[in-house]
């Protein structure tokens, strides 16, 4: 009886790991497991993200978004309060408001709050993690490591594939850029903005790929 319980617990753990792997990365499993054994679970333990991706941009374009479907697999509410990403000096948590067909993004007050057992979609035109003040091109086809921090101070990292995308052009109002208007890489007309790093976009192509 005792053995059977142990085995099924192990199977459940393996399944959870498999799920995390499918989701394209999840909360530092080793650390998480160690903590689980020692003390009570952190918010990071319940974090999973499925199909994360980042819109490719050149450094000159300045900002872009991270998208994907977050799941809170824990039994308590989870709040993502901030995020960081290699290649961006400023990262904010944003939402998009719509007036007519114009969309404007603003920083979410209080972070992303995800009820226990719920999912939370980051998508163009909706909630997203906003990368600003880029320090290099984010070239399509590479991956970017993004780290989210929770209200309890725990963190989780995931690798998000970088993809060409011509949507997600919401105007940004507010934040550290003051009254200046920016958008997530306006792609009118040519190849620019998709971070192909092939040398013709003025980006330093040598630095554009090293995010894996």
């Amino acid at each position: 009886m005792h053995q059977r319980t142990t085995r099924s617990a192990t199977a459940a753990a393996l399944f959870a790991l498999a799920l995390s792997a499918c989701g394209g990365g999840s909360a530092e499993p080793e650390e998480a497991q160690a903590e689980q054994a020692a003390a009570e679970a952190t918010a990071a333990d319940g974090f999973e993200i499925t199909d994360p991706w980042v819109k490719a941009v050149t450094q000159d374009e300045g900002m872009t978004g991270v998208f994907g479907e977050i799941a809170n697999t824990s039994a308590s509410e989870m709040t993502i309060v901030s995020a960081t990403a290699d290649g961006a000096d400023t990262v904010e948590l944003h939402e998009v408001a719509m007036e007519g067909t114009d969309t404007t993004m603003t920083e979410v007050e209080g972070g992303f709050v995800i009820p226990a057992g719920e999912t939370y979609t980051l998508e163009p035109g909706g909630y997203h993690i906003m990368l600003m003040q880029l320090t290099r091109d984010l070239a399509a086809g590479n991956e970017l490591t993004v780290t989210v921090e929770f209200a309890d101070g725990s963190t989780a990292s995931f690798d998000a594939p970088i993809r060409p995308y011509t949507g997600a052009n919401e105007e940004y109002e507010g934040g550290s850029e003051g009254g200046e208007e920016h958008d997530m890489g306006d792609m009118e007309g040519d190849h620019s903005g998709q971070g192909d790093g092939s040398g013709e976009d003025g980006g330093d192509s040598g630095d554009g790929y090293g995010d894996e």
Partner: protein
């Protein structure tokens, strides 16, 4: 899920100053269908409701096949041995001048990921029309590399056969349908699926390349006749009877034969010839002459020396007049060199762009073989010298591609070249 959606809607309308949010509009639209339980989720549920409509009275609905899938991952790429789907589009791309080996790697990572998802009925990662991805209908996406791409990645890795075929006298090639850096062959039993897949692949290839040409073709619609029936071309001929059978040693030897560069192990080659057919002058030929031109019966494709489609062709049999039953100029005679290694696997599609006044019809002659120079060229030389069929058919386009091996889950097509 339902709770989350309604909470989102509340959030959005709050942020929008009480106005209707985009998400609110979507939810409202779905609710407008009048279905119970729609809150469980958006477009997918709406689609199922539409798809679940009762068939019209008196009509007998055929079994649905939209959710049939063909595995994408594997040692060999799908779309070669795969029983031919009803619709195909072949798209060729040329790399941008600045695209280096790393750009090619990133391009193939993205295209492979899109193909892996779409073939399984899962939207591409950044799919803007995810509902169009829901019916894969045996979708396959097969990639081929032109000489230009392989040279750019690693000049030492170019197979000696990769490049334009030798010139044939009967050809009237237009560069419009010529060699290109990258080929994507998209096949499915549903033309909307083909269209959406091509769109997703081309869209994501745009930062790296520009389209060179696109050629679409068709066979009989799925379900019109039993699977495995040999196709008919627009001249009415049963076309492809002599093909080696996938899954046999003969097929593996002819199509997947090893011996090329290391990175091509598990790969093959594609020769894509656009063969224009003059159907108007073909109309002037009566049925017995039409059968003599090819050496096969029109009704079932049997050789003129046999009864059934797959009967052996007897090139020596003579008729009452002392002449061979299969004439000296007949296509089946000219297409055989006598060397069993000089054979190919055809997987062609008809095309018809006639609008009643102008335009062309014909065959997208897709031929797979381990080595085009050793297999395709000797056959084509014989046909080029003599084949009465040449009076009605002319190759107007020709391109050769290396079809690299398939990839494992998490990998990408071309990995053996780009990281080999």
């Amino acid at each position: 899920m339902a709770d989350h959606d309604s909470e989102d809607a509340a959030h959005d309308s709050g942020a929008g100053g009480g106005g209707m949010s985009r998400r609110g509009l979507l939810l409202g639209g779905a609710a407008g269908l009048g279905a119970a339980g729609i809150g469980a989720a958006g477009a997918t549920a709406a689609h199922r409701l539409v798809g679940g409509a009762e068939p019209a009275p008196g009509s007998e609905s055929a079994p649905l096949h939209g959710d049939r899938t063909v595995p994408f991952h594997g040692r060999r790429q799908a779309g070669v041995e795969t029983p031919p789907q009803s619709h195909a589009t072949f798209v060729a791309l040329d790399l941008d001048d600045g695209a280096d080996a790393d750009a090619v790697r990133r391009l193939m990572v993205i295209l492979s990921d899109n193909a892996a998802r779409l073939t399984q009925g899962v939207p591409a990662l950044t799919d803007t029309e995810p509902e169009l991805a829901e019916l894969p209908a045996r979708l396959t996406a097969t990639f081929g590399f032109g000489r230009g791409l392989v040279e750019r990645v690693n000049p030492d890795a170019v197979p000696d056969w990769l490049g334009p075929l030798p010139k044939f006298e009967q050809d009237d090639l237009s560069p419009e349908w010529g060699e290109a850096d990258l080929l994507v062959q998209v096949c499915a039993d549903d033309p909307v699926t083909v269209s959406h897949t091509v769109r997703m692949l081309l869209r994501d290839a745009r930062p790296f390349s520009r389209p060179r040409w696109s050629q679409s073709g068709f066979r009989r619609a799925h379900g019109s006749q039993p699977d495995g029936t040999t196709m008919r071309n627009l001249m009415g001929q049963v076309d492809g009877t002599a093909n080696p059978a996938p899954g046999t040693e003969d097929f593996d030897h002819l199509v997947w034969g090893e011996g090329g560069p290391h990175w091509m192990a598990g790969g093959t080659s594609l020769v894509l010839r656009r063969i224009a057919t003059d159907l108007d002058t073909w109309d002037e030929i009566d049925r017995p002459a039409r059968e003599a031109v090819v050496g096969r019966r029109l009704d079932n494709g049997a050789p003129l020396t046999g009864e059934n489609e797959h009967d052996e062709v007897d090139l020596e049999a003579t008729g009452p007049d002392g002449l061979t039953v299969i004439p000296s100029f007949a296509h089946v005679r000219r297409a055989r060199t006598g060397d069993p290694d000089e054979r190919i696997f055809r997987r062609g599609y008809n095309y018809d762009l006639r609008d009643g006044v102008t335009g062309e019809a014909g065959l997208l002659f897709a031929s797979y073989q381990a080595d085009p120079l050793r297999q395709f060229v000797p056959i084509q030389r014989q046909l080029d010298e003599l084949d009465l069929l040449n009076q009605w058919v002319t190759a107007v386009g020709s391109a050769v591609f290396a079809v690299p091996p398939g990839c494992a889950e998490g990998g990408y097509v071309g990995q053996s070249l780009l990281e080999g």
